[in-house]
Amino acid sequence: MNPGRLVGHVTMQPAAVYTRDRCVTGIHGLDEILRGGIPYGSTVLAAGTCGSGKTTLGMEFLVRGALAGEACAHFTATEPSVKLLENIRQYAFFDMNMVDSGLINVFDMDVLYSWLGLEKASFELDDVHALIKAIVDIVNTIGVTRLVIDSVTTLCYKIKSEQLIRDFLFTLGKKLATLGCTTILISEITSATENAHWSSFGVEEAIADGIIVMGDVERMGHLLRFLQVVKMRGTAHSRAKHAIELTPLGVMLTPMLKWGAQSDKTSRWGS
């Protein structure tokens, strides 16, 4: 039987809709916001203020991939991998066996710099290319399909030219996409208001396929964490603010109350 609706003598068929394959994040509520997940091979900027849950989000993204049998990698530039793993072990969703079995591979950027002879204050063009090649080689060798760099801000502090940062991120994103790797670049920002930039250097947000902003809404002296998908190429998505909780089972989201989505006027977060 034809499922189309009959209008006069003409049977109307729904237009064929092309949808990109998705990397299902597995994060409670986020896939619903993204109408199924992040389009495969995307480079997504997760930009947030301190304590907003960026690292937990990034790690859960990898854990959910590992649980589905995907090879995952985490490059940590903000804290040593040992400390990162100690912090993340408190969450019931994380299992150290995933690291031991090689499903989640954690790399210290400092160690990577040392391997590459990049123990210097600032990177030039050749250094940036060497870094891209090293990351891409690791992704290619292990067959990584989910990658997190925490944080791209710390990494980019070593790249002095805005143009070079742009080239670095653009080239890295392009090569990772070619390999079918979905990447979350964690970015540190000082304010998550509507007037703020969503990246430290102003170039990351233009290059990324998606931007997820994380921050706090101050309500009568209490900080409520929020997450908002500002941009995601290749999919329709909600752009509403969502409240988040970091639970032992992982990140949980619910739409933020409309009458409480703005910070109190006197707070430093909303100014």
Binding site: T247, L257, G260
Partner: protein
């Protein structure tokens, strides 16, 4: 153990509700605990439900001790305490079934914590008991509270979790009260209490 007379008519009324119902329970200042106990006990004992008790009115320890004093085992209930952490400033408690949210103004956190508990619970049939709308009204503006109750009730109805909302009508703003009447599917009214 203190002898305590329950309102059996509440148990009878509860036999009429479905899992996806939202029940508004109206009480007065003087009978709030009797009405609460008369609602909770049948849910646990007659219908063998587990649940989440959200306490915005008093600290969860006080509520647990009050229940225990009349012989109710509340080990199958998880408590979310909204007053002990940020208002009373104490979370060192002898019960493992108490969870804390910093403040009654963190309404979304309360919802997410409830959903988290329900994800971890082993009970097949669950209720969420909100004690109480008038306590939340002390800290939250009318329109955000009305919006919250709309979200709260629909979230649990969608998941086939019985929501029970305790309310002292004369301490609840009219906007919130009228919205509550609109969203709830059932009403247990014990609000007209005359004290002789």
């Amino acid at each position: 153990m203190i002898m305590f007379e329950l309102d059996q008519r509440i148990a009878e009324q509860l036999t009429e509700v479905a899992l996806n119902s939202a029940v508004q329970v109206r009480c007065g200042n003087s009978n709030a605990f009797m009405v609460t106990a008369s609602t909770i006990i049948p849910l646990m004992q007659m219908f063998e439900m587990g649940g989440v008790y959200i306490s915005a009115n008093r600290g969860a320890v006080e509520i647990i001790e009050a229940f225990e004093s009349i012989g109710i085992d509340v080990s199958k209930i998880q408590f979310i305490d909204l007053v002990s952490s940020g208002i009373l400033g104490g979370t060192d408690v002898p019960y493992s079934n108490i969870h804390f949210v910093d403040s009654p103004i963190m309404l979304e956190s309360v919802l997410l914590r409830t959903l988290y508990i329900l994800r971890t619970t082993s009970s097949e049939r669950n209720f969420v008991f909100l004690d109480s709308v008038n306590a939340l009204a002390i800290y939250n503006e009318d329109r955000i509270l009305a919006e919250y109750l709309h979200t709260f009730i629909n979230t649990f109805r969608q998941r086939e979790i019985l929501s029970v909302v305790l309310n002292v009508p004369d301490q609840t703003p009219p906007l919130v009260l009228s919205n509550l009447d609109l969203y709830c599917t059932d009403l247990i009214d014990r609000g007209q209490v005359v004290i002789h």
